[in-house]
Symmetry: C2
Subunit: 253 residues, 2 copies
Amino acid sequence: MTRILVLANQKGGVGKTTTVFNLGVALAGQGRRVLLVDIDPQASLTALMGFDPYKIERSSYSLLMFDGMGLARALKTPRANLALVPGSIDLATAAVKLVQERHPLTRLRDALRQSRMLFDTVLLDTPPGLNVLTVAGFLAADSVVIPAQCDHLAMLGVRAIQDMVARVCDGLGNADLSLCGVLATFFDPQAIYAQKTLDELRALVPVLETVIPYDVHIADAPHQGKPVLDYAPDSPGAAAYRKLAEEVGGWDA
Amino acid sequence: MTRILVLANQKGGVGKTTTVFNLGVALAGQGRRVLLVDIDPQASLTALMGFDPYKIERSSYSLLMFDGMGLARALKTPRANLALVPGSIDLATAAVKLVQERHPLTRLRDALRQSRMLFDTVLLDTPPGLNVLTVAGFLAADSVVIPAQCDHLAMLGVRAIQDMVARVCDGLGNADLSLCGVLATFFDPQAIYAQKTLDELRALVPVLETVIPYDVHIADAPHQGKPVLDYAPDSPGAAAYRKLAEEVGGWDA
Ligand SMILES: Nc1ncnc2c1ncn2[C@@H]1O[C@H](COP(=O)(O)OP(=O)(O)OP(=O)(O)O)[C@@H](O)[C@H]1O
Ligand SMILES: Nc1ncnc2c1ncn2[C@@H]1O[C@H](COP(=O)(O)OP(=O)(O)OP(=O)(O)O)[C@@H](O)[C@H]1O
Ligand SMILES: [Mg+2]
Ligand SMILES: [Mg+2]
């Protein structure tokens, strides 16, 4: 049963893109067929995987803007078991046109459902802020994961996403959307308030078991064009993403 | 001579808000009269300073949306020498209306210029992404500081801001806008590529001398409702913000 997960948080820099990439690589390494979809106009996932966002001909832009577009022509397959629908800088105009020209927001969902049987897990990377591209991602998914730092702003970001899940379910037409949980990222045990914030989150909302630690190997890996699992396989960051893949993979069992 | 600095980077979570707050507190502590302006719909600066973004009656929203609004009625003065024009969640609708209803984007500039003589330094906090609120901030400022992490995405964020500075100067009507420089934030000497990235940045664009280190005290301070300078005055983070205040203060000498 294909699982379509959207990773979202209006707060910037909380590890959405890093998680989509490393979780995707870890799941593929565990033998699952994985599709990553980049719907951020900054296309940092696309850049992370070695492509130039200024030079992408077919991207998620076509899936959002045109009816009846299948995945096939946009698909890249940069690693074994790991496919990518790249983003492109054109997504910035999509964000404007989708609203002004009143396009239906369900085209991405249709394109993904058409190709469901090709993949076990689909991960959608979204931009920060709460805009129409994120809404299209929510309409296309069955579950939401909220990467969040355990800082004083964590609960604000989580609440904003909970509101959006409720609105998408009730008003915008995805009654099946569920909140998987918050994924704690950048967790630094030296920060006095990090554990306290994590405990508070756990008491209030679903939170994934796996916690992604603050680990400089995660930040260094992209400089070598690699996921942390290749760059530093024994690092705490790599171990956490492997553990996350088992936790996420376990939901399908 | 009042200096109006806008802190901007379309990348999220790079320390814009943290810098506006702690730099503002440090400058005020050095005897300057400081005004902070929050134009982010998430209003995290406003929340950081102890106010509730859902309960702000007069905010930067009024300065952006209505002609001839002076600062006086929006102003809060939460600390000695430190004033705040708060943000509010209404800024989200401002972002939409400013574009759709074609409002002039220079009202914030007019309001700030009217009150220039009251302050030595004005710091503007902007949202992530490149949207109309950030443009209004650019039009109101005389200089841009770009907080940026020394990661693989640093140069992308800097380029995006350089493009915007050029466009605002040439096309949109602020010929006086200059780029002060990039402020390196979250600097972790344990990250192999951080120093390399910083050196590359220094070779390509103006970069401030002061570097803000990754320091958990900075992340913990907001949980006590304090700036890091009060919460942990001897920490590396506090020392860096004091040094930054001297560097920035030195530009007016
Ligand atoms: N656990 C971690 N430890 C250390 N660095 C990390 C960690 N997770 C992510 N990073 C680094 O932090 C930066 C921001 O991460 P990332 O781009 O994934 O956030 P994001 O939420 O996708 O940001 P945006 O909102 O701009 O899309 C990147 O340089 C990344 O390499
Ligand atoms: N040098 C630092 N060391 C450790 N933590 C930091 C540092 N600077 C900022 N932080 C923490 O990182 C988080 C993000 O910082 P901040 O909110 O200032 O970023 P921002 O660029 O304003 O984000 P946004 O784009 O969402 O407005 C906050 O929890 C903050 O306390
Ligand atoms: Mg991202
Ligand atoms: Mg901010």
